[in-house]
């Protein structure tokens, strides 16, 4: 994958979460919407988040980072992905 901007990452992640975790492909997840502390992505699906990021962007998210302190919205997650792609 070549260069990718933050907005694109947010869009792709949001689509993937809506389709595969929420099973509601039409649901739009905004960049600053809480996804972990809100329970939108439940604990059983946190590991999926890490797998999606690995598959889509070849970036590793450690299990110790799967919590709301590390990232709680798509904007924060996209920042992590961008910083690790450099």
């Amino acid at each position: 994958m070549g260069k990718i901007d933050k907005e694109e990452i947010i869009k792709l992640l949001g689509k993937r979460i809506a389709t595969d975790i929420l099973k509601k492909p039409q649901r739009i997840i905004t960049a600053d919407e809480a996804i972990i502390s809100s329970g939108l992505v439940d604990s059983f699906s946190l590991v999926d988040l890490a797998l999606f990021v690995e598959d889509m962007f070849s970036v590793q998210i450690a299990d110790t980072e799967l919590n709301a302190q590390t990232f709680d919205n798509l904007s924060q997650l996209a920042d992590i992905i961008i910083s690790r792609k450099k």
């Binding site: 439940d42 604990s43 059983f44 946190l46 590991v47 299990d63 709301a68």
Partner: protein, 561 residues
């Protein structure tokens, strides 16, 4: 019979240097504990309880994260002779005010004398308890420092009698927290001895667990049994495991684990969420039993597990099953230890229309039922009809049990305790049938939802949905629908909405959010309907089963459209 404090101190005296417990925490080095270390640390809590004026026989609620302090405080309570009760710890998604309200519900019925927690919660807990509380002291783990060993012969735990209550177990939610299962030293001891024999537990075993300690499977099978019977235990946190399920298999491979207990959903979860690349170089050959317990056992889940883990030296004959409940301390029956688990392929039509599990007929639809094994040797099992008469083999009815390890009572709930028994037999509320002594659990009579092994009371979820403006008060129903993909039930809420609601999606979202943030489940399925959709019984109560069937019919219909 030795009580639990006697058992602990016996190990402390005879095998102080034996390593009994390894604690794994993500991102940290494993911590290994000998009996000496375990008891020395636990005694500091015993001392603190004594200093705080807490007397043997009084209840202590523990509000701590899964980890060393939880373990030390638990044994500290038992050594002091008081009764520990673990409150599931706050999760990220839970609203703190609701958590405090749940704690207050637990306290109101259980009337503990003390709460053990962290300094950061002290203020909130005090506010939640109010003025008229039974709680005389809040013990903060930050104040527990190294302590001098006290005269162990004088600790309160040693003089507890076999019939005294040793611990309380609760399930989650307001309803579950107000129905504490009180177990005596004798009951726990009888279960230990009987279950040890049933699973052929011996000194070569190593137990590996990620299960929470507030649940019977985690507390009894994967915590008290190994520690009291000197079997090494490798313990990780459920929070760590759910984020990296491969850790369980890594621990089994590294420590040569022989025994592991899992709820059914975990078979699907591990099969689907672990990558092959994570399993490279791991060997599961040491496992002699992986025991499926705590929620309905599915043949399909076992197949998924086998497909995934056979290439990593998992032995097919290690698949095992168990039927258990906190009210019986833990196990009722056990299968798959001396021989492979029994699978009964039955005719679907006769089962569904007549409640009879007839062997399958060629070319007819079938269901593969997995046996939960035979009753362990101190437990008797009967299947009864609605009218209380005992049923023959292959007839589905309510499972009732009798044993020498039953609960003493639902704590401070004589009403619930009385309702639970019939002529000295405990009514489990589960449905099942027997064939040649093998027990097949096939469904539930009680309106309980089991999500990922956790018992959830639908009334708690219904109340939360009713709090949302636009939902008709009193016109909500919650039930579980089995999802084969994830191997457990998913909660569905059907709610009647008031007229003139335009934004249906936003209302759905609000219900989802309110239930998720205030309960231990994450709600996905909300089904909004118009007034008078819900079916009521002749006595005017909303029937969960009838409405579940209506929902299934309707949504199936919609799927075809």
């Amino acid at each position: 019979m030795p009580n639990l404090a006697n058992l602990l101190l016996d190990s402390y005296e005879k095998v102080p240097d034996k390593e009994v417990l390894v604690i794994q925490q993500s991102g940290e080095k494993d911590i290994s504990l000998t009996y000496q270390k375990l008891i020395d640390q636990s005694i500091c809590f015993t001392r603190e309880l004594e200093k705080s004026g807490i007397k043997p026989g009084e209840v202590v609620v523990i509000v701590l994260e899964h980890g060393l302090d939880l373990i030390f405080s638990y044994f500290g309570c038992i050594l002091h002779g008081c009764i520990p009760s673990i409150m599931p710890f706050l999760t990220e998604k839970l609203i703190p005010e609701k958590y405090c309200a749940d704690l207050a519900a637990l306290v109101a019925i259980t009337k503990p004398s003390s709460i053990i927690t962290y300094r950061q919660f002290q203020k909130e807990i005090l506010v939640g308890l109010g003025n008229n509380t039974s709680v005389r002291s809040i013990i903060l783990v930050e104040n527990i420092h190294k302590c001098n060993i006290i005269d162990l012969n004088k600790i309160g735990g040693l003089i507890r009698s076999p019939h005294d209550i040793v611990l309380l177990q609760h399930s989650s939610g307001t309803t579950g927290l107000q129905k504490g299962v009180a177990l005596s030293h004798q009951a726990v001891y009888n279960q230990l001895i009987s279950y040890r024999k049933a699973i052929r537990l011996d000194s070569n075993d190593v137990i590996v667990s990620w299960l929470p300690l507030y649940h019977d499977m985690g507390l009894i099978a994967c915590f008290l049994i190994p520690i009291l019977l000197r079997i090494p235990l490798i313990l990780m946190s459920p929070f760590d495991w759910i984020r990296a399920p491969v850790k369980l298999f890594k621990a089994i491979s590294d420590y040569h684990g022989t025994l592991c207990w899992l709820p059914n959903f975990a078979y699907n979860f591990c099969a689907s969420k672990i990558r092959e690349s994570q399993l490279e170089n791991l060997s599961l050959s040491s496992l002699r039993a992986v025991i499926n317990c705590s929620e309905p056992i599915k043949f399909e889940s076992h197949q998924r597990f086998l497909n995934k883990f056979l290439p990593y030296d998992f032995n097919k004959s290690a698949l095992a099953t168990c039927y258990a409940m906190a009210e019986n301390v833990f196990a009722v029956s056990q299968g798959g230890i001396d021989s492979e688990i029994v699978v009964d392929e039955i005719d679907q039509n006769t089962y569904q229309s007549k409640g009879i599990a007839k062997p399958s007929i060629p070319n007819q639809p079938t269901i593969k039922m997995v046996s939960s094994g035979k009753p362990i040797d101190n437990v008797q099992v009967k299947i009864i009809a609605e009218n209380g008469t005992e049923l023959d083999d292959r007839h589905v009815g309510e499972i009732i049990i009798k044993s020498n390890c039953m609960l003493t009572e639902f704590y401070h709930r004589p009403d619930e305790t009385q309702k639970a028994f019939i002529d000295g037999w405990f009514k489990t509320g589960d449905l099942g049938y027997q064939v040649d002594g093998e027990l097949f659990v096939s469904g539930r009579k009680k309106d309980l939802i089991i999500v990922g092994g956790k018992n959830i009371y639908p009334q708690d979820l219904e109340s939360l949905a009713m709090e949302v403006p636009g939902v008709h008060p009193g016109r909500v129903v919650a039930f579980g629908v089995y999802n084969e993909e994830i191997g457990t039930e998913e909660v569905v809420i059907v709610a009647e909405i008031e007229k003139n609601i335009n934004d249906i999606e936003s209302l759905e979202e609000k219900i989802r959010d309110n239930v998720t943030r205030n309960s231990s489940i994450a709600l996905k399925n909300v089904y909004l309907v118009n007034e008078k959709w819900l079916i009521k019984t002749s006595s005017g109560k909303i029937s969960r089963l009838a409405n579940k069937n209506k929902y299934l019919r309707e949504t199936k219909l919609n799927n075809y459209q």
